[in-house]
C-alpha cells in the first residue's frame, strides 16, 4: 500500500499500463509539458515520448473520433478531456460512434477506449465547467461508466477501464484530486466494474452516493449516528454496469433509502436507483425513498450560490431523518 493522491493514483496507473502494453497511449489538451491541468500525465512524456503522450489541438470531436478509429485499428487509446463538460462538444462521437460501433456492426468491432477527465463543483468554474454528466452516458447504451470516489478506486477502476475491450467514460472529480488514500501497489490491482462498495454498514437507512458525495454521505452518517440513526453508505462506483443488487439487499435490511448525487436531480441517475429499489424491494420499504441532486438551474459562479444548488450534508441528514420518521 502507498498513500497517494487521487491525481497521482491516476497518473501511476496510466504509466504502469503504458509500460505493460505498448498499445496504450494518451491524447488530450496540454498533457505533454503541462502534464494536464490537474497533473494526471505529469512528466509522462519524458518516459513515453510525445507519440504516446500526445497533445491535441482543441478539437474534442476529432480527438474522440480518433480514439474510436485508433481503437478499431488495434490501439488502446486514453483520451483526456480537460473538463468532462466538453463531452457535449463531442457528444455524437461518444454516443453515436464509440457506444454504438460494436453493436451496429454485428459485434465485429472492439473499441478499447477510455475517455477520462474531471467534472463537478468546487473550483468556481461556473455553469459550463462544473456540471456532472454521468447520467446521460448511463442512459444511452454501449458505453461503460465509472465514477471513482477515492484514490484507490481511481487506480483500481482505471486499470480495469484500460484493460476493458469496451469504451469507458471515466468521471473523475476535480475536488478529489488532492485527496489522499491508501492505494494497493499490486501492478494488477483491478476493481471489477459493477461492484458497489459498502463504505459503512448500518441498519437504519441506506444512503447511496458517488464521487464527492461518498464523503458527504459519510459525514451525514456521522451526524446521524449522534442522533442514534445507524446509516449504511454505499458507493456504486460504476454506473454502467450498475450493482443494483447490493443496494436492494441493503434496503431489504434498512427499509429506507436516500440517494444523493451532484448531477441535476431531475431525471438524474438517482431517480433510476430509487425506482429500481421500489421495484425490487417495495414490500420492505418503510418510507418513500428520497432522491437528492442539484437544483434545476445551471451551476452559478458565486460559491454560496454554487453550494446552494448542490445537496448539502445537512440535506442528506434531513432526508435520512425524514425516511426514518424522525
Amino acid at each position: 500500500m502507498s498513500k497517494k493522491t487521487y491525481a497521482t493514483a491516476i497518473r501511476d496507473v496510466i504509466a504502469e499500463e503504458m509500460r505493460r502494453d505498448e498499445n496504450v497511449f494518451v491524447m488530450g489538451e496540454d498533457i505533454e509539458l503541462l502534464g494536464g491541468i490537474f497533473g494526471c500525465t505529469r512528466d509522462l512524456y519524458k518516459e513515453f515520448g510525445t507519440d504516446r503522450i500526445r497533445n491535441t489541438p482543441i478539437s474534442e470531436a476529432a480527438m474522440i473520433g480518433a480514439g474510436v478509429g485508433a481503437a478499431c485499428a488495434g490501439m488502446r487509446p486514453i483520451v483526456e478531456l480537460m473538463y468532462m463538460d466538453f463531452t457535449l462538444v463531442a457528444a455524437d462521437q461518444i454516443i453515436n460512434q464509440a457506444a454504438k460501433t460494436r453493436y451496429i456492426f454485428g459485434g465485429k468491432a472492439k473499441i478499447p477506449l477510455v475517455i477520462r477527465g474531471q467534472q463537478g463543483i468546487g473550483r468556481g468554474n461556473a455553469a459550463t465547467h462544473s456540471q456532472s454528466l454521468e447520467t446521460i452516458f448511463m442512459h444511452f447504451p454501449g458505453i461503460k461508466v465509472a465514477c471513482p470516489s477515492n484514490a484507490a478506486d481511481a487506480a483500481g477502476l482505471l486499470r480495469t477501464a484500460i484493460r476493458d475491450d469496451n469504451p469507458v467514460m471515466f468521471f473523475e472529480h476535480k475536488a478529489l484530486y488532492a485527496s489522499k488514500f491508501e492505494v494497493p501497489d499490486d501492478p494488477d490491482f483491478c476493481i471489477p466494474f459493477g461492484q458497489a462498495e459498502i463504505k459503512r454498514t448500518g441498519k437504519d437507512v441506506t444512503i447511496v452516493g458517488s464521487l464527492l458525495y461518498v464523503s458527504r454521505a459519510l459525514e451525514a452518517a456521522a451526524e446521524l449516528e449522534k442522533m442514534g440513526i445507524d446509516a449504511e453508505v454505499i458507493d456504486p462506483r460504476t454506473m454502467v454496469p450498475f450493482d443494483m443488487d447490493t443496494i436492494i439487499e441493503s434496503v431489504k435490511k434498512t427499509g429506507k433509502l436516500v440517494v444523493v448525487h451532484e448531477a441535476h436531480k431531475v431525471a438524474g441517475w438517482g431517480a433510476e436507483v430509487a425506482s429500481q429499489v421500489v421495484d425490487g424491494a417495495f414490500k420492505y420499504l418503510d418510507a418513500a425513498p428520497i432522491h437528492l441532486g442539484a437544483k434545476a438551474c445551471p451551476l452559478p459562479f458565486n460559491i454560496e450560490l454554487e453550494n446552494a444548488v448542490v445537496p448539502s450534508v445537512q440535506q442528506i441528514v434531513e432526508a435520512a431523518k425524514k425516511v426514518c420518521y424522525r
Binding site: 474510436v68 478499431c72 454501449g142 469496451n166
Partner: protein, 321 residues
C-alpha cells in the same frame, strides 16, 4: 499507371456496385427492403479507383451512401444485400441495414449515417497506423455536404499537424439531398479548403477512373512517405435520387439524363478499355453479365435468409472477454 489486372478489377467492381444498387432499388420498390437506402449509382469510379489501390489491411470509413465503398473494399454482394434486408446472414446480422453497413474483416470501419461522423474515425485509424509504424493507410470518404460539418475541419487539421497517412476523398456529387453545393458551400472547389490545413488539395473528374486513380496514387505515396494527408475532391453526380423514393423535384431531369447518358463512369471506362485494346467489348460484357447474375443471386440469398432472432437483440452491446 493502372495495370491490366487492376483495370479488370475496377471494371468488375463498378459493375458489381451498379447492379447491386439497381437490385436494391428494385427490392425497395417491391417493398422487400425498407429503411433509408442511399444509392451510389453514377459514382462508382471513385470507390473502385481508390479501393483498387488498397489492401484488406488498409482502412476506410464510409457514409450513409456506403454500398459502393463496402463492395469496393471487398464485401460479398450476398452478405451485403442480406444486411440491407436486415437478415441474420448480413454483415452486421441485420443490426445496421444500409446506413451502417460494414465488413470489418476487410478494414472497412463502417458506413456512417451521421454526416461527417466517419471522418475523425478514419483519422484515428491513420493515427494507429502511424503509431504501429506499419505501412497502412486510411481513407475517409465523405460528401460535399459533409465538408461543412465541424468534424471535417477538426479531422483535416489533426491529420495535417500529425502528418497522418490518410487520404480524404470528398465525393462532390453536386448536392446534399436537395441543396446544390453552391448554396451550402462557400468555395468553388472543395479542394480549396486544403489550403486551410497546409496540405495538397486536388479536384478531379470523379467519373474518370484514371483521374481518380492517379490523384489517389500520388496521395498514397505522400501518405506512406510520412508527409501527411491529401484532400481529393472527386466531382461526380448521383444519377438516382438521394434516397430510394426521392421525388427529385429539386433538379432538372435533363441534367440527370445528361449525366446518365453521356457521363456514366462505367461506360466511359469501358470505352477507354476497348479503344486502347485492353479488352474486347465481349470480354467486358461478360463481366457485366456476371455482375448482374451475382446481384440477382445476392437478392435470392438475402430473400431466403432468416431474420435474426429477437431473443438475441441484446447481444453484442458489449464485448465480453
Amino acid at each position: 499507371m493502372i495495370s491490366k489486372e487492376q483495370k479488370l478489377w475496377i471494371y468488375e467492381i463498378m459493375n458489381k456496385i451498379r447492379y447491386f444498387e439497381l437490385k436494391a432499388l428494385r427490392l425497395f420498390e417491391e417493398n422487400k427492403l425498407r429503411g433509408s437506402v442511399h444509392l451510389y449509382a453514377g459514382e462508382e469510379a471513385v470507390a473502385a479507383a481508390v479501393c483498387a489501390q488498397l489492401t484488406d489491411d488498409d482502412y476506410i470509413t464510409s457514409t450513409h451512401r456506403g454500398h459502393g465503398h463496402c463492395i469496393a473494399k471487398g464485401a460479398q454482394l450476398d452478405k451485403a444485400m442480406a444486411e440491407l434486408m436486415g437478415k441474420e446472414t448480413g454483415y452486421c446480422k441485420g443490426r445496421s441495414g444500409s446506413m451502417h453497413i460494414a465488413d470489418f474483416t476487410k478494414g472497412n470501419l463502417g458506413a456512417n449515417a451521421i454526416v461527417g461522423g466517419g471522418i475523425p474515425i478514419a483519422t484515428g485509424a491513420a493515427l494507429a497506423a502511424k503509431l504501429q509504424k506499419n505501412d497502412k493507410v486510411a481513407v475517409s470518404f465523405f460528401g460535399d455536404g459533409a465538408s461543412n460539418e465541424g468534424t471535417f475541419h477538426e479531422s483535416l487539421n489533426l491529420a495535417a499537424v500529425w502528418k497522418l497517412p490518410i487520404i480524404f476523398i470528398c465525393e462532390n456529387n453536386g448536392f446534399g439531398i436537395s441543396v446544390p453545393v453552391a448554396q451550402s458551400t462557400s468555395v468553388e472547389n472543395i479542394s480549396d479548403r486544403a489550403v486551410g490545413y497546409g496540405i495538397p488539395g486536388v479536384t478531379v473528374d470523379g467519373n474518370d477512373v484514371f483521374a481518380v486513380y492517379e490523384a489517389f496514387e500520388t496521395a498514397v505515396k505522400r501518405a506512406k512517405a510520412g508527409d501527411g494527408p491529401t484532400l481529393i475532391e472527386c466531382k461526380t453526380y448521383r444519377t438516382l435520387g438521394h434516397w430510394t423514393g426521392d421525388p427529385q423535384t429539386y433538379r432538372d431531369k435533363k441534367d440527370v439524363e445528361m449525366w446518365r447518358d453521356t457521363k456514366d463512369p462505367i461506360q466511359l471506362f469501358k470505352k477507354v478499355l476497348v479503344d486502347a485494346g485492353d479488352f474486347t467489348a465481349a470480354e467486358l460484357d461478360a463481366i457485366e453479365e456476371a455482375a448482374k447474375v451475382e446481384a440477382d443471386a445476392a437478392a435470392e440469398f438475402a430473400i431466403n435468409s432468416p431474420n435474426p432472432d429477437p431473443a438475441d437483440v441484446m447481444d453484442d452491446v458489449f464485448y465480453d472477454a
